[in-house]
């Protein structure tokens, strides 16, 4: 049964591997053979004991026993050493050598221990030797050379000894033994080949298993790596998701509007804050052209800037890393306008080509309003200072350079100077009041329980005395009004409102002061019979330096009194407004809440005990 492995003789590593396996087989399966053949040797000696010289028999058995002893010792040494690889092949040579020696030892039997007298013993001897050689081809199949030598060593002397007898019978037996030897040798070869083939099959199987194991290990390794990579990717994905969530939250909770448009000027994203700033829902604004919501003036300016800087409207961008910042006025959904500070920059795709614009729009309406107010305030304040200063400078210079002014006119000039100096002083006082009131957000300090009725009555009698010609009517609750207020500021409030009422009423006019308790606040009103105001004037009455009739210079005042009054009321959480009809008089109304917001509201009774006088 020739196999691929047998044909594979030119492969030295293959042959060596085969040889190694054969040697290992040899050492594994021969011990019982050695003992068996030793037993046969003893049996043979016993059988021949009567036929042959005892010395010869013992000498042979001794020699053979020694040989078998060596062989068993060699096996023990092999097992003890447990050699591997090429080292095994050397051990194979020792075994082969001893096998050949053992075979020759048996070959000595027909030469020196031939029982010439007894034919049966001769046959028995032949049977032993032939049987043993038959056994050898099985046991020593792994080592074809050694077993062949041993078989020839055993059978050729046997055949030779028989032929040596010279008679026909013995010659026939001798020739038969030779024929048998040929058959045994050929069988030996075949068994060896089968063994080698089976070993080769085993190798194939082992190799297959090995490669399967290797593949399995590789697969396991790969799957481990895949799992690790998957975990890593999962981690990265989670990190990306987290970071995306963080940015999304950032964008969607920002008060500024964050938006992107593509190069065709269509919105691609608008953050939800657009609703609180411009009134549009995200869907509504996305359906509009970004320029549609701009006011005319802003639109033309922004279109020009964007065309130049960001290269929209078909022009090439100057620089794709440009960031443009500008202020623009945009329409709220309700038609009013908002000022937005817009910072816009290109967004690029992975190749660095611009693919759109990212912008952040901040509502600066309030800032703009405050800036404008500040500018207006300073301009107006400067103007207000200018008039008394011009008068003071002019009159004093007149008095200095002109000697021809009659004494009574000199006095008039001096009176003007004094009056304008006082006017200046009043303006400064009012400005200080405003800054003091405006610097106090809410009512941080100075809040105490105050008897408003008492304060009001004091002020009314003061104004009545000073005017002399105006009459005051009061309608106040019977119980004194007591509120947690900043007394100094409240005094200023009533003072200014009463002052205005007197200033704008004709002589002999009636000024009525009312107060009534409503659910959670007191409503105050001060009504005069003065010149009244148009709706436009009523609206502007609380503006700084606004005077209902500025040309009506008979009415002194700085134009700041009502501003102060409004600030005081609002600082206390109240509201102030005017009801007026032109030519018929004005009613100033304001509320003061009973529970001042944000006051660290202690127990009312305690406060009263502590602060009431």
């Amino acid at each position: 049964m020739p196999t691929r492995s047998i044909g594979n003789t030119d492969s030295v590593p293959g042959n060596r591997r085969l040889r190694v396996a054969e040697v290992e087989q040899l050492y594994g399966q021969t011990p019982s053979g050695h003992l068996g053949s030793l037993f046969l040797a003893i049996l043979l000696v016993v059988i021949l004991w009567e036929q042959m010289s005892h010395i010869r028999l013992i000498a042979w058995l001794g020699s053979y026993t020694a040989i078998q002893g060596f062989r068993l010792g060699l096996i023990a040494a092999f097992r003890g050493t447990a050699p591997t690889g090429d080292a095994v092949i050397a051990w194979g040579r020792y075994a082969d050598l001893l096998t050949a020696v053992a075979g020759l030892a048996w070959g000595m039997v027909p030469v020196f221990l031939f029982p010439t007298a007894s034919l049966p013993h001769q046959y028995l001897l032949a049977l032993f030797v032939v049987g043993l050689s038959c056994a050898m081809i099985v046991v020593y199949a792994p080592s074809v050379l050694a077993s062949s030598v041993a078989i020839l060593g055993m059978l050729l002397p046997l055949a030779g000894r028989h032929i040596y007898e010279g008679n026909l019978l013995h010659t026939g037996v001798g020739l038969a033994v030779i024929g048998l030897a040929a058959v045994i040798l050929s069988t030996n070869r075949r068994i060896h080949a089968v063994n080698a083939a089976s070993l080769a099959l085993r190798f194939e199987k082992d190799d297959l298993i090995d490669s399967l194991l290797t593949e399995k290990a590789k697969l396991e390794d790969a799957s481990e790596r895949l799992a690790a990579e998957g975990a890593k990717r999962q981690q990265a994905e989670t990190a990306l998701n987290n970071s995306e969530r963080v940015y999304r939250t950032l964008v969607e909770t920002a008060q500024d509007i964050i938006w992107t448009i593509d190069l065709g000027l269509r919105y691609t994203y608008v953050s939800p804050s657009v609703t609180s700033v411009l009134g549009y829902t995200v869907e509504e604004i996305m359906s509009l052209n970004p320029f549609d919501t701009l006011t005319e003036a802003s639109r033309s300016r922004i279109a020009r800037i964007y065309a130049q800087e960001l290269g929209l409207a078909g022009e090439e961008p100057k620089d794709v890393s440009t960031t443009v910042r500008d202020e623009m006025e945009q329409y709220h959904k309700d038609g009013s306008t908002r000022w937005l500070e817009v910072t816009a920059t290109y967004i690029h795709d992975s190749d660095g080509n611009p693919m759109g614009i990212l912008g952040i729009s901040r509502d600066i309406t309030e800032r703009k309003r405050l800036e404008q107010m500040k500018t207006d305030f300073i301009t107006t304040a400067a103007h207000e200072f200018r008039t008394p200063l011009t008068a003071i400078r002019g009159y004093s210079e007149l008095l200095l350079i002109r000697d021809d002014i009659p004494p009574d006119e000199q006095k008039e000039c001096l009176a003007h100077i004094k009056e304008q100096a006082e006017n200046l002083n009043n303006i400064v006082d009012d400005l200080l009041d405003i800054s003091r009131i405006e610097s106090g957000v809410g009512l941080p300090a100075g809040v105490a329980r105050c008897n408003i009725t008492e304060t009001l009555m004091e002020l009314i009698s003061f104004h009545e005395d000073r005017s002399g010609s105006h009459r005051f009517e009061t309608a106040l609750p019977e119980d004194p009004i007591e509120l947690m207020v900043d007394k100094w500021k409240i005094r200023k409030l009533f003072d200014n409102v009463l002052d205005n009422a007197v200033a704008y009423s004709p002589e002999g006019g009636v000024i009525s002061v009312r107060a009534e308790r409503c659910e959670d606040h007191y409503l105050f009103s001060v009504k005069d019979q003065g010149i009244g105001m148009t709706p436009d004037q009523s609206e502007r009455v609380f503006d700084e330096f606004y005077r209902a009739d500025a040309s009506h210079t008979a009415v002194p005042g700085t134009g700041l009194g009502m501003t102060v009054a409004k600030n005081v009321v609002e600082a206390h959480g109240g509201k102030v407004w005017v009801e007026s009809e032109y030519g018929k008089g004005t009613k100033v109304k304001f509320t003061l809440p009973i529970d001042i917001p944000d006051s660290d509201g202690g127990d009312g009774a305690d406060e009263e005990n502590t602060h009431s006088r």
Partner: protein
Amino acid sequence: MEETERMKKILIVDDAAVIRDLVERSLGRDDCEILKAENAEEAVAIARQEKPDLIMMDIMMPGAFDGLEATRMLKNDPQTSDCIVILLTAKGQKTDIEKGIQAGADDYFVKPFSPLELMRKVDDLLG
């Protein structure tokens, strides 16, 4: 002969009475008729009626329009375009001065002004 009979008229326009009084005293001219207006609308109305020789015009005044607009109106009106208009303006407001000259004003004084200089200027202009 008619000219000597006719008294020269000066219109003083300012929202503050004290300034109007100061300007009048600064001019110190007993030979002129002094007219006064406390806003731009009134100034235009009086100027059209009285055709003054000189107008001392404040710029920043409350009303439908300011002194600049009044100057422009008077200078564009053939009946009043001969009036000499002197602006009284707050210091430093250069754009106002430029606008005033464009509007046709003949000269300007910056507040707080010197009464002496004002008197000399008016004396030069009116003789």
